[in-house]
Point group: C2
Chain length 333, copies 2
C-alpha cells in the first residue's frame, strides 16, 4: 500500500488544504473545486441513499484493509439502489471523519477502494467533506437514475414467489474466519468456500447484474410490479421488511434456504444463512411466472418460499415460527 | 425540550428499529420506509453538496442546543448550494452518529432543527442512516436544482467588483460571547449586536434571498456570468478561493470591510471580520454595472474591492499583503 514516504505522513501534518488537494486525483471536477458538484439532468427520476460505516461498528482494522473499506462503503450503498431498481449509478459524495493522527496512506487506501468500486459499478466521485474526529467513519450518499421497475418493499402480493439472487451467510462466515471464531476452529472447510466467504465479507458485490436480468426477463404478461429489498441486515430481516411493508405472511421452505453448495449442515449454519447479515443479495417477491423466468437466467438464485394473505410474519412451511437467534442480531445501536 | 418521559430514554434502550420508527414523523415517505428515497425528475440540472458537523470540532454542548445543531447542519449545506446558484432545494439526507448512551431527546431536538430549517428554506427530509459511535456527528447531503446563473469560483474576471451579501465576523463574535472569551470581558457591546452575533453563530441563514435578488437584478447587458463562494471558512479564505480558481488578484479597500454597523474598531475586530469564519454570506465577483444593481436591492451588501489581472492573491488597496492572523484559522484537521 505504501507507495512513497509521504504515505506515512499524518493528516494533521498535511492540513485540510493539502488533504483536499491530494483527493483531487480521485475526482474529475466536483465539490472540491467548487462549493457543490453538478449532476447534469438525465430527464429521469432519481433515487438517493445514504449509508454510514463506523469503525468498530461496521468495520475494523482486524478484518479490513483501507482499500476494502472504501470498496465496501460504495458497494453497500449501491446495493440499496439495486433493491430500488436503479438503472445507472450517477455518482457519490463521501463524508470522511478520521483522527488527526491518521496516516495519509489510510485515506489514500479508502479513496482507492472507492474509485475501484466506482470504476466497476459506474458513477463518479462528486465530492464530499472531511473532518477530524475521534473515530474513523464514512458517510456515503449515492445517486442513480430509476429504471422501469417499481421495486418498493410494499409491492409484494399474496401468491408471489419469494426469490433470492444468491446464497446467504457467506459474509458472516468470512467474518468468523477473519476473527478466528472458535466455532470454526475444529472444522475442515473447503478452501474455495473459505475464499468466497472472505471475499463476500471484504469486497461484496451489489446485485446489479441480478437486477438487470430481473428487468430483462420480465414476461410481457406480468406488470412492472415486484417487491424487493437487499439482505444487508440478513435474509430473515429482509423478508420481515417485505412482510411488514406489504402486509403479507411469508412461508419459507427449510430445504430451500439459499446456501452455498459447499455450506455445512447444522442449526448454526442455518442461522448464519438466515441472520448472518451483510449479504447484499436481492430478496424479491414477484409473480410465479416471472420468478421462474428470473431463476432460469440466474443460476445462483433460489425460490425460497412464497407470500400468502396474513399478518406480517415469516413462518416455516410446517407453520412454525422462525425463531431469531439472539446472538446473531446485527446491532447498529 | 423534554416533552415526555420517553425523551430521557437512551438510544441503546430504544434500539435501531424504534429509533427509525420515531424518526418517521420527520419525513413523508423516504428511505426509512424503503431502501432508497425518490427524487422525481425536475428536468433540470442538479447540484449536490455534503458537509459534516462533528462534536467538539464544529459544535459543542457549551454553545449549541440540539435544535440549533440540526438547523445549522442544514443551513451550512444550503449555503454552499446558494453559492452555486441553486433554484429550489429538493431535499436532504442525514447521516447521524451518536453514542449509544445519548438521550433520545438529543436526536429528537436535532431532527426538529432539521425540519425547522427545511420548512424555512424548502426541501424535504429524504432519508438517511444512523449508527452508534464514540462522538456525535452529522453528515448532511443536500440536493437542489440549478438556476440560470453559473456561479463557479473560477468565473471572476479582471475589472469585476467584489461584493459581499452581508456583514462578516458576527458568528465569531457570537462564539466568543457564548464561550465568555476574555477578550470581550471588559467591553460594553450594544445588546442588539450581541443578540445578532449569537443568532449568527447558532442559527445562521443561508443567503438564498441575496441569490434571488442577484438573479433578479441582472442588467440585460450582462451575461449570466459571475463568480461566487460562501464565506463559511471566513471572508479572506473565500476571496482567496475566488482568486485561486479565477487566477486573479483581489484588491480590498480597508475602509470598506463588510462589518455590522455597531461593530467596534480595532485590529482584532478587523481580524474577526476577515477570518472569523462561519459567516455564510455570498462573496461575489461580477461586472460593476451588475454589482451596483445588486447593492441597490440588498441594503446590507457591500462592495469591498475589485479584481485585477495578476497572480492569485488578496492585497489591500495600498498594495500591502493582507496578513493572516495565525490564531484565527479554522482547523478541520
Amino acid at each position: 500500500m505504501l507507495k512513497e514516504n509521504s504515505q506515512h505522513i499524518k493528516l494533521e501534518q498535511l492540513g485540510e488544504k493539502e488533504i483536499l488537494n491530494r483527493l483531487k486525483k480521485y475526482m474529475d471536477f466536483g465539490q472540491i473545486d467548487d462549493d457543490t458538484a453538478l449532476i447534469t439532468s438525465s430527464q429521469k427520476d432519481l433515487i438517493i441513499n445514504t449509508d454510514m460505516l463506523v469503525e468498530d461498528v461496521h468495520f475494523s482494522e482486524a478484518t479490513s484493509i483501507p482499500i476494502h473499506i472504501g470498496w465496501k462503503a460504495i458497494a453497500v450503498n449501491i446495493s440499496d439502489l439495486a433493491a430500488s431498481g436503479v438503472e445507472e449509478i450517477l455518482g457519490v459524495t463521501v463524508g470522511l471523519i478520521a483522527p488527526a493522527s491518521t496516516n495519509w496512506s489510510w485515506v489514500d487506501g479508502v479513496y482507492t477502494g472507492i474509485q475501484d468500486a466506482l470504476n466497476t459499478f459506474g458513477g463518479k466521485l462528486l465530492g464530499g467533506d472531511c473532518s477530524r474526529g475521534n473515530q474513523k467513519s464514512l458517510s456515503i450518499t449515492v445517486v442513480g437514475t430509476k429504471g422501469p421497475l417499481n421495486l418498493h418493499r410494499s409491492n409484494a402480493k399474496p401468491g408471489d414467489h419469494l426469490v433470492t439472487s444468491g446464497p446467504h451467510g457467506l459474509s458472516r462466515l468470512g467474518l468468523g474466519l477473519l476473527l478466528s471464531d472458535p466455532f470454526l476452529k475444529s472444522l475442515e472447510l473447503p478452501q474455495s468456500l473459505k475464499e468466497q466467504a472472505i471475499k463476500a465479507h471484504q469486497t461484496p458485490i451489489p446485485a446489479l447484474n441480478a437486477l438487470e436480468k430481473l428487468i430483462f426477463c420480465k414476461p410481457s404478461s406480468s406488470p412492472w410490479r415486484a417487491a424487493a429489498t437487499d439482505s444487508s441486515d440478513g435474509l430473515l430481516e429482509a423478508i420481515e421488511c417485505l412482510c411488514k411493508s406489504s402486509k403479507c405472511t411469508a412461508i419459507i421452505e427449510p430445504q430451500n434456504l439459499p446456501i452455498h453448495h459447499e455450506w455445512p449442515k447444522g442449526p448454526e449454519w442455518d442461522s448464519w444463512c438466515l441472520e448472518g447479515g451483510e449479504d447484499y443479495e436481492l430478496v424479491v417477491s414477484l409473480p410465479p411466472i416471472w420468478a421462474k423466468a428470473w431463476r432460469k437466467t440466474l443460476p445462483l438464485s433460489k425460490t425460497i418460499g412464497k407470500m400468502k394473505k396474513g399478518s406480517p410474519k415469516v413462518i416455516w412451511s410446517n407453520g412454525e415460527t422462525i425463531r431469531k437467534s439472539s446472538t446473531q442480531t446485527y446491532k447498529h445501536f
